[in-house]
Symmetry: C2
Subunit: 376 residues, 2 copies
């Protein structure tokens, strides 16, 4: 199979680009002296995760217990479920651990910590739990200086659980686009997580792991003293949001959607393509960034950018492709019906999730189908 | 299985609401004297489509050839593929027709019409083709008065194809919220499609079918003279976008996402839930409407609206639930960890697509799992 025989829409992975993205991150974190634990929520795809581990990653991060189950079934056992644990999901986590999975849970409240400990004692199992730290007011977690941090740690240890460490994610790094801001937020992420770990240790509690990370901070941090591991997900594909953040060029984006021109509205300068929001996702992450790419940046079938052409809007299975600024009234001649194009996505995690499989294009142009899964 | 034992996040269908939505549309179109051909892209789910057909719908509309293949395999053979046909997809359409599917194709250009005719002649098959009409400048299609309409019709007939009719979709109806505007756009859709059909007939060409429709226009049209069939999709579930358009109450929305509270940021008045954008979709369709519902409107587990509480923002597997206006600093008491809630979605087509299955809740509270498919 070659690219010109693939049906459209299809999600393409440019394998050489993906491999370069994997090596770039791994080499950076090797040089900074920390372990790297990729977040597999971006692709949910075994060959991608195999390539990440082959390059030196140790363990994986997941966003759902289904991801944990799927990757454990594929032989990966060092897994952090990086979403706050609730009582209702403990039986599912227990079943995984009973089968041999080294699954780490996350908690950021006394309620959760006590519920985990109570269930663990009832089942005769010592869950390993990492405490989530909020380093930037972005989402979940306890502030590094929050007094409840020690109570949570103590509830786990006194409840017979294993306090494995702390975990932070500077999700607000996506809001910046200057290198100096990314360096600053990376240092804030590092310092917050390390402070939380030191406070736990000062209270006589164990805290072997200090886990931080997001793609922008992992690629910008200048020092990682006190950190034991970094997590990042989207770096493996990159996307237009990350391009706007300033951590990749458009020629490093490994994911695109192959599409076909199916019609035109010539007076408006529109080409209609068969990649709508079902193929691109509804993610409009570049809308509030420095450059709004609509639903994606248009490339020729060979991947070269058609500068100034965007997927301006999208219905379920129709995309409207336009030139930025002056309408291209010759668009039907330039991109006739049947023309095949690639669209670079705003957000690789969201676009990937719309597709049951990736078509992985190797350096020699050969294509392999790499399945991915979805659901919970 | 009952709702309180379902894992979260899950996509729920309130079956009595769905059934009422189906009956409302069918009765309306029966009274207006036209056939109804539901668009199955909203649910891609056999039991839903069976209920639509059982209520009187005749044939279905699809947005992908995969939908055509899946529903044909389930015994439904009267299918319109309502996306402009391109040469690359003709072999897939041909295979379906050869197996007995009464598949209708759509074209809006001479290039497509000629390509279909050439391929059909080569294969010894007369494809039935409907010409797409643009009644509101929304997307694809030829304007009703466009002189190329006759050329396209003639190219099909002279090429040995069957000119089955015209098809229009007033997608711009989603941009309105007053009944009088919806009545006007519905009449514009009707009049445009009928004019196109009359022009084809006046040129000596056949045009048996006049197919129009969108949920807002189908529910607002006062007369449908000259129309033979109506298409609509999202009415079967409804959603917050449709609520803002003014064609349903929130108590008619049949789709919701069941979720669990997993944490809080009390000072900010946040409850964190396990329904992020992966469960809700990235659709922010209410953003530019009269009322912005964020990522969804919050209800108790029993479906009663918690007025003023929205899913304000979303990460992949985290939703941030907030009160509109003044933060609810008692939210951890009001909605403690483990609380189960339902979120009404902005857009039922997009939210459904994130889930491998629906959990269908019957009037007696019993639950059935209804699978849905995705991909192309």
């Amino acid at each position: 199979m070659r690219i010109d025989t693939l049906p459209t829409p299809s999600a393409l992975i440019d394998v050489p680009r993906m491999q370069r993205n994997i090596e770039r991150m791994q080499q950076r974190l090797d040089a900074l002296g920390v372990r790297f634990r990729p977040h597999v929520k971006t692709t949910k795809c075994e060959p991608v995760v195999r390539a990440q581990l082959a390059a030196g990653a140790r363990g994986i991060t997941v966003s759902t217990l289904k991801e944990a189950e799927q990757f454990f079934a594929q032989g990966i056992d060092d897994i952090v479920y990086a979403v706050g644990m609730v009582p209702g999901k403990l039986p599912q986590a227990l079943a995984l651990i009973r089968r041999g999975c080294d699954l780490k849970l996350v908690a950021d409240s006394l309620v959760s910590a006590k519920a985990i400990a109570a269930f663990g004692r009832e089942q005769g199992l010592s869950f390993e739990v990492w405490v989530e730290i909020d380093v930037d007011g972005h989402r979940s977690g306890l502030a590094p200086a929050d007094e409840r941090l020690i109570e949570v740690g103590r509830a786990l240890v006194e409840g017979g659980m294993k306090l494995g460490g702390v975990l932070a994610h500077a999700g607000s790094s996506y809001d910046y686009h200057r290198h100096e801001d990314l360096v600053r937020i990376a240092e804030q992420e590092r310092a917050g997580a390390v402070l939380a770990a030191e406070r736990l240790r000062a209270a006589g509690l164990p805290c072997p792991v200090v886990s931080i990370g997001s793609t922008p901070t992992a690629l910008s941090a200048e020092r990682l003293e006190g950190v034991t591991e970094v997590r990042a997900g989207v770096y493996v594909m990159f996307d237009l949001v990350m391009h706007n953040v300033g951590v990749c060029g458009t020629d490093e984006i490994a994911l695109s959607v192959l599409t076909t021109v199916i019609g035109h509205q010539e007076e408006k300068g529109w080409a209609i393509v068969d990649a709508g929001w079902m193929a691109m996702s509804r993610d409009r992450g570049t809308q509030r960034q420095t450059r709004d790419f609509g639903y994606g940046l248009v490339c020729a079938e060979d991947g070269s950018v058609l500068d100034g052409y965007l997927l301006g809007s999208a219905n379920q299975e129709h995309g409207i492709l336009q030139r930025v600024g002056e309408p291209d009234r010759e668009i039907a001649t330039r991109l006739p019906i049947g023309t095949r194009l690639r669209i670079l996505p705003n957000h690789a995690c969201a676009t990937g999730a719309q597709h049951p499989e990736y078509q992985a294009i190797a350096a020699d142009g050969s294509v392999q189908t790499w399945p991915r899964f979805y659901g919970w």
